[in-house]
């Protein structure tokens, strides 16, 4: 079965006791048991039963099951947001003194998580240029536990040579963690390319067009957790389930980053139209990128689907026929960006991706506002950069709005 069909039907298993064709919202905090022994067994993991919705819930479990079918993951845990997904994974596989190797081309809040929040607990991230995988190898030391990167970086829109990065990680027995939010499993298969752990902000494409906040962790069952001293004890007891158990019976449970059952329901609905929305928004983005790239008011258009993009070859190799719905344009200054954005009549000024509506933002003054201008340049976020998350409207209307707004510059 093709992925767009699986997104609608799953594996055709209907786990609802009333055979509801849409899986219902089990909006209950707690689940009761017929005996004390049964509840004890559930807490010890000796019975397959839900106890408390911070730990598990039938609607969440159905979303996890459906995401596992679509991504071909060994196990999936859904979380309250994409940031919660990243935090849960790092807290599960690292500890004081551990480091990860990553690229400076990261989502702003991910960078802040590594550089501020987790740094206070003795964790560190080493930033190297991923365009040359040798840089990664040179940065690895005895405390390195993982290599972390994004499929299409946000907002730099870089796509690295994933195969080389994965080979490097395997050579050094390191876990690979991929933020696949911009591509999703529809455009990039982590399983196929040997990624160990994928995380996604399901708020974006999965939710059905910005209906709800959520995240997901996908474990492909490929990593030997016995290689990592921070989780080796669980690997001995639980084998390839080590991370899933660490999450469900410790980190995810203790940090309380659970998804709400209502959001899980909305995201199950969103999954059904995933293929349509990705294809339409990506097609729109390609049309816009091609038409805008020679516009005299625009210094540069960045889109990995453009043949002159430095990332085009990797995009072609790794993405499944579409190049995503995010493009950026470079104007001459921050004030030019603000003028352009303020004159838009249809496109909305908002900080999100993959909404059904086309959205625009100036990353330097928003997502990256907590950093100096120099630091932002280092992170690939210039003052003249405008990010456009292309929606599923008629592309002629989007194009017309962009053109009329460029005219005021």
């Amino acid at each position: 079965m093709k992925i767009s069909t699986k997104a609608i039907h799953g594996d055709r298993t209907n786990n609802d006791p009333y055979k509801s064709l849409k899986f219902p919202v089990y909006d209950s905090v707690a689940f009761e048991f017929d005996s004390s022994k049964e509840i004890e067994d559930a807490f010890l993991g000796r019975a397959l039963a839900h106890t408390y919705s911070r730990i598990s819930n039938p609607t969440l479990a159905e979303l996890e099951r459906r995401l596992a079918i679509l991504s071909d993951a060994y196990g999936v845990v859904v979380t309250s947001s994409g940031m919660a997904a990243i935090t849960n994974v790092i807290l599960s596989i690292a500890g004081s003194g551990a480091n990860i190797i990553t690229s400076p081309f990261l989502f702003g809040n991910t960078y802040s998580l590594f550089e501020k929040t987790l740094k206070r607990f003795g964790f560190s991230a080493k930033y190297v240029d991923f365009s040359n995988p040798e840089n990664i190898e040179n940065a690895i030391d005895e405390n390195t536990v993982a290599i972390f990167f994004e499929t299409i970086t946000n907002p730099q829109l870089a796509i690295f040579d994933i195969e080389k990065i994965v080979n490097m990680a395997k050579k050094h027995n390191l876990l690979t963690i991929l933020d696949n939010t911009l591509a999703t499993f529809y455009l990039f298969s982590s399983k196929k390319w040997g990624i160990d752990i994928e995380i996604i902000s399901t708020t974006k494409y999965i939710s059905g067009g910005a209906t709800s906040v959520g995240g997901a962790i996908f474990d492909f069952g490929t990593y030997d957790y016995g290689r990592n001293k921070f989780i080796a004890s669980d690997a001995e007891k639980y084998g390839k389930n080590a991370l899933l158990v660490r999450l469900k019976r410790e980190v995810y449970r203790n940090t309380g980053g659970c998804l709400s059952p209502h959001n899980a329901y909305l995201q199950l609905l969103g999954l059904e139209t995933l293929a349509l929305r990705i294809e339409k928004s990506s097609t729109n983005a390609m049309v816009l990128a091609k038409r805008l790239k020679n516009h005299k008011k625009i210094k540069k258009v960045n889109y990995p689907g453009l043949e002159d993009s430095p990332y085009y070859n990797n995009a072609k190799k790794y993405l499944d026929g579409y190049y995503g719905s995010i493009l950026t344009i470079e104007l001459s200054s921050k004030s030019e960006c603000f003028k352009f954005m303020d004159n838009l009549k249809l496109i909305r000024r908002a900080t999100n991706l993959h909404d059904n509506k086309t959205l625009v933002i100036h990353p330097a003054s928003t997502i990256f506002c907590e950093y100096s201008k120099e630091k932002r340049e280092e992170l690939g976020v210039g003052e003249g950069l405008v990010r456009i998350s292309v929606g599923i409207e008629d592309v002629e209307d989007i194009y017309e709005d962009v053109i009329q707004s460029l005219e005021v510059l």
């Binding site: 010890l44 993991g45 000796r46 397959l48 039963a49 459906r66 999936v76 639980y238 389930n241």
Partner: protein, 69 residues
């Protein structure tokens, strides 16, 4: 032979009992998603038929709710 199954001691009059056979005898629910531990250590599916249990072994059949295989 005595085995401790999920905390309960049970007698078995069988020779060369494997994990695979025990799963059937105990009628373990959802065997495709169960995690098997013998004396606190994980046993993979590939080990089920080759692992012969011995007197006094403690076996846990565990479930961790979440999507997947």
């Amino acid at each position: 032979m005595q085995l401790v199954i999920n905390g309960e001691t049970k007698d078995y009059n069988l020779q060369n009992l494997t994990v695979f056979e025990l799963l059937k005898i105990e009628n373990v629910k959802n065997p495709d998603v169960v995690t098997v531990q013998v004396n606190g250590k994980f046993f993979s599916k590939e080990q089920y038929t080759s692992t012969i249990l011995k007197d006094g072994d403690e076996i846990e059949f565990l479930y961790f709710i979440g999507g997947g295989k």
